[in-house]
């Protein structure tokens, strides 16, 4: 039995080292499935997430944390200037350290005053995307300016049971900023046999 146990523990240590735990997320989201085989990578990205109740959160991520950390500060400075939020330097640094928000502009200041650990616990109402008051468009616009010269990915992560108008509001916000290419974050599933995609030669599969 000894060799058997040895192998078992080898596998165990492999999985323990290979596992990368997801950082805690403010929203609980179960994503839909798609046949896409593109894996999610670390990227300079704007990430819009929404849960089943339609709370929309905005996150900015940078690929190179040490070099590009200033971009996030630049982003919040842009938002601050565009909407006259009157944020203090400390509040902006608070965003830089944890660039996830899910509140309308009139609550941003009080949100950023909270320390990081508490921000996850606060129930945020989500960023409005109504046709009259699409605040998400401002966030994305600011990100576009801040990330100038970088290839930015616009990622959308939505919950299965979120209503379509929520998704549409997110797309509207992106369209307002002349962004038309998005990546929807999904769980992978197998291609159904017998379909055109299944019969297609492997080479063009990611297309």
């Amino acid at each position: 039995m000894t060799p058997f146990v040895d192998v078992a523990f080898l596998i165990l240590s492999f999985f323990m080292l290979a596992t990368k735990f997801k950082p805690p997320e403010p929203l609980t989201i179960t994503t839909p499935y798609s046949v896409s085989s593109d894996k999610l990578k670390e990227q300079d990205a704007v990430r819009v997430e929404f849960d089943s109740a339609g709370h929309i959160y905005f996150t900015a991520t940078v690929k190179n944390e040490t070099q590009d950390n200033g971009l996030k500060l630049e982003l919040i400075k842009q938002v601050n200037a565009n909407r006259n939020l009157g944020l203090t330097n400390a509040e902006m640094v608070s965003f830089q350290n944890y660039p996830t928000v899910g509140s309308p502009f009139n609550q941003i200041k009080s949100l950023l005053d909270l320390p990081r650990e508490q921000r996850d616990k606060v129930k945020q109402p989500g960023i409005p995307v109504d046709s009259t008051n699409n605040e998400l468009a401002t966030w994305i616009g600011a990100a576009k300016v801040a990330f100038q010269g970088h290839q930015v990915f616009y990622m959308i992560k939505g919950d299965n049971n979120a209503s379509y108008p929520t998704f549409k509001g997110v797309i509207e916000a992106l369209k307002k900023n002349d962004e038309y290419k998005y990546k929807l974050i999904t769980d992978p599933k197998a291609v159904p046999p017998g379909t055109d995609l299944y019969n297609k030669p492997q080479a063009g599969k990611s297309d």
């Binding site: 939505g158 919950d159 209503s163 974050i185 379909t195």
Partner: protein, 194 residues
């Protein structure tokens, strides 16, 4: 109680034969609990690893054209309109909707694939008769996707995924019209969709 009695009787009885033999202790440790725990951890890590590898699905939207001249024309023969309603309802019609709504049909997320495949083949057959080059036989095939307000994000992603699965190269995500919405409402009422 019984145990104590027996023990007492035993010790009295065993005293006679003499000194107890020293039991030789085994140096081997029972590894079963450790191995159990090991496997428990393996299963745990296997599950957590596979679950955190999401994929990215591309979605390219067209620009909103203001000028009607720039709008893409769709051939009636090659158009398939799919509408998504509440309660995972899915409806479709080919070409243009007839005034009496007689070509409006309901389907399911399972059956819609056959509808798309059939329509694609029909259009390709037509393309062949019109003498289109072999690799663009399906160029007239356009799927118009119209989710209504009560459909979910999952519905939209599922149908977009269906486009990838069936290699539909031209599709559009469009707002639903009031007439179509009314047809869906009527059908939902008839079928008792909550």
């Amino acid at each position: 109680m019984a145990d104590i009695d027996v023990a007492g009787g035993d010790s009295g009885h065993k005293k006679g034969p003499g000194v107890k033999k020293a039991k030789k202790l085994s140096t081997r440790v029972d590894m079963t609990p450790m191995v159990d725990l090991g496997f428990l951890l393996i299963t745990f890590f296997i599950f957590t690893t596979t679950m955190s590898t999401p994929s990215m699905m591309k979605l390219y939207m067209p620009k909103d054209e203001k000028d009607p001249k720039d709008l893409t024309e769709v051939k009636e023969s090659g158009a398939l309109t799919i509408m998504l309603g509440k309660g995972n309802g899915i409806y479709y019609y080919e070409g243009q909707i007839k005034p009496d709504g007689s070509n409006f049909q309901s389907s399911t997320y399972h059956d819609i694939r056959d509808v798309i495949i059939k329509k694609k083949q029909d259009v390709m057959k037509l393309g062949r008769s019109l003498g289109y080059p072999k690799d663009t036989l399906d160029k007239d095939f356009v799927v118009v996707i119209k989710p209504n307000k009560e459909s979910t994000y999952k519905n939209a992603v599922d149908i977009l995924d269906e486009m990838t699965i069936n290699q539909v190269h031209r599709f559009a995500l469009v707002d639903i019209t009031d007439d179509e919405n009314m047809l869906i409402k009527a059908t939902e009422q008839r079928n008792g969709v909550k």
